[in-house]
């Protein structure tokens, strides 16, 4: 699956899509593949404040739970309610319909520190090498 060129990425395999001062956040195709079939998602409520680098929710497969780390700080303006009934969207469309939350950025400069698509693609190649070593 192609990684959108206009997104930014984290080492914990989250993506961020910034539109104005609002950023949509999700997990990458690499992350959903590692995790396997997603069965449950726990997300913060609208209005919650999240802080860059801290966990704001969890994604569960049958036998694993992954914390999701905030790529940037801000206030939650929307959570993807569809995922409560169809968490499989994270597997089928991780970069689109499988988005998790939207936040109003507290400090848009934080986004600049994240990887662009080329850097992220290089990063996951290095990750897979390490795993098979």
């Amino acid at each position: 699956m192609a990684y959108p060129a206009n997104y930014r990425y984290t080492k914990e395999h989250e993506w961020v899509d910034v539109k104005g001062d609002v950023a949509a956040i999700g997990i990458t195709d690499y992350a959903q593949h590692e995790l396997g079939d997603v069965v449950f998602v726990e997300l913060p409520k609208v209005g919650a404040k999240i802080e860059a680098g801290k966990t704001f929710g969890t994604v569960e497969s049958v036998k694993a739970v992954s914390d999701i780390y905030a790529p940037a700080s801000g206030e939650v303006v929307e959570a993807n309610g569809d995922l409560q009934n169809t968490p499989e969207k994270i597997n089928s469309d991780p970069h689109g319909a499988g988005w998790l939350i939207k936040i109003r950025l507290a400090n848009p400069a934080e986004i600049k520190a994240l990887m662009d698509v080329a850097a992220y693609e290089a990063y996951i190649v290095s990750q897979s090498k390490e795993a098979s070593a």
Partner: protein, 503 residues
């Protein structure tokens, strides 16, 4: 069925629905003697709390249907009574039938926890003798039989440690836990109010003593260690580890899940362990029963004795035994009543049957594990080569090349007539195959197991699809766990009923 599968064969597997689906109004399977007092009027006696109709959906079947229903269900289970159950770290050994018999005796099973102590001396003597046996086996000074299971034993042990530190002025903050530990260890530490600091195992699977020295600070309350470790390897430097902890006032907790590798050979108390729990359903052979009940006694050194949970069994001046319910420094009560008494009875019956010969059980368990290891080396990858005690941990590294993982091999083992080993634990071995035969397996059963495993290794290389789609002979094939978790169906509902059973 091919001739390479020697142990298993087909047997008639009958279909059986849920008991609720067999129900028909008016059928009965149980009758009481006639009421010998005037019948009460429930609506008068209970008023508004009276439930007018019976319970919606409750089964109505006859006695033979009950027997057949549960007997049919039972035939869908694998069991120790059918064959080797090599679940690593679970210690699935033979559960002697006499233990079941004595636990059901009138005067044992019938006793009420609040009956007068003078009418409970038989119960007390059983508890006292079991305490003495466990102290002798562990080399510790004091024991509580209260905890209901291993995990509750762990919690009790940590609460003892906490109470001890508190008495010395500071409960401390952290508990150190190796990354190879059972999941209950960190979960328990949190419930006892401690932060968990994970410590990485060394490349050969043991604790890095040099690193440990740096990690042990006055903030550390204890180290929780499993010995032999979950890799089945004896932690050789345990006395040194104990010294490092003690030098800073911290204590050493031993998870006794693997005590069946040490019984009669060495004693944790002599190794510097301060407190440990025992899983009576593992080492002392009380039946697992499909997931419980267990019992998790905690043995400890003298320094922790004042903090034991109540009730505490004491000897009176007249030689009679009694339970004390109040102790000033006690951590309190961890469970209502007097421990899992019925489980304690079975454990004592097991110990009495062996006597000092319990050492032979340990020897045979270690012999079986090493015999299997010897014959499977080469066929499966052995990530840690230190000597094995009662269990051996392989990895699926060789089979992975053909896309076959530990779970696939485990499922294929079912077709060969065995219960799978433990898969994917300990977490520090990717794709682990954790095999614990116990002392209850004959040489013949071990050989059949070895043949089966070697044959599966061969299949993984030649016909990997056969292994990946196993099991092929069970009543149901691989089940959709994803679907079960996404849309949980956790109870039966009558067709066309509303969501709630009662509104």
């Amino acid at each position: 069925m091919t001739d390479k599968i020697k142990k298993a064969t087909h047997h008639p597997n009958q279909n059986e629905g849920l008991i609720f689906e067999k129900s028909s109004p008016g059928k009965r399977a149980f009758e009481l003697p006639p009421l010998d007092v005037p019948p009460a009027d429930p609506s008068k006696a209970l008023g508004a709390a009276h439930r007018h109709e019976g319970i919606e959906g409750f089964p109505e079947v006859s006695e033979i249907e009950v027997i057949r229903h549960f007997t049919r269900l039972s035939t869908w289970n694998y069991a120790i009574d059918l064959g080797m159950y090599p679940l690593g770290s679970c210690t699935m050994k033979y559960n002697p039938r006499v233990n079941e018999f004595v636990a059901r005796l009138d005067g044992i099973a019938t006793e009420h926890p609040y009956q007068p102590q003078e009418l409970s001396q038989g119960c007390f003597k059983i508890l006292r003798l079991l305490e003495q046996c466990l102290l002798e086996i562990t080399g510790m000074d004091s024991v509580t039989l209260q905890p209901a299971a291993g995990a509750q034993g762990e919690l009790t042990g940590l609460l003892l440690i906490r109470a001890y530190h508190e008495k010395n002025g500071n409960p401390r903050k952290k508990v150190l836990i190796p990354d190879s530990a059972h999941g209950t260890n960190p979960a328990t530490a949190v419930i006892a109010g401690y932060e968990v600091e994970n410590i990485k195992s060394e490349s050969h699977g043991q604790i890095n003593v040099v690193k440990l020295r740096d990690l042990v600070t006055p903030d550390v309350a204890a180290l929780m260690i499993t010995n032999p470790s979950t890799l089945g390897i004896f932690e050789q430097r345990i006395p040194e580890i104990a010294e490092i902890l003690h030098a800073d006032g911290a204590l050493l907790y031993m998870d006794g899940a693997n005590m069946n590798a040490l019984t009669g050979i060495t004693r944790p108390g002599d190794l510097g362990v301060d407190v440990m729990h025992l899983n009576l359903h593992k080492t002392f052979s009380t039946p697992h029963g499909g997931g419980g009940p267990g019992a998790g006694p905690v043995a400890m050194k003298k320094i922790l004795e004042p903090f034991r949970p109540v009730p505490i069994l004491v000897e009176k001046e007249n030689g009679r035994l009694a339970l004390e319910q109040v102790r000033p420094d006690s951590i309190g009560r961890v469970k209502a009543f007097n421990g899992n008494f019925g489980v304690l009875v079975r454990a004592l019956a097991y110990i009495l049957a062996y006597g000092p010969g319990v050492r032979e059980a340990t020897e045979d368990a270690v012999l079986n594990a090493n015999y299997i290891r010897k014959h499977l080396e080469g066929a499966f990858d052995l990530p840690y080569s230190l000597p094995s005690m009662h269990e051996v941990v392989f990895s699926d590294a060789l089979q992975k090349k053909n896309g076959v993982n530990t779970m696939d091999i485990a499922k294929r083992l079912i077709d060969y007539g065995f219960h799978p080993y433990t898969t994917a634990f300990p977490l520090i071995v990717p794709g682990a195959l954790m095999i614990e035969p116990t002392e209850s397996e004959s040489r013949e059963e071990c050989d059949l197991f070895i043949d089966a495993m070697r044959s599966i290794a061969n299949e993984a290389a030649t016909t990997p699809e056969l292994v990946k789609t196993a099991p092929h002979t069970t009543r149901v094939r691989r089940l959709d766990e994803v679907g079960a978790a996404r849309k949980p169906i956790l109870r039966w509902k009558p067709q066309g009923s509303r969501t709630r059973a009662v509104d």
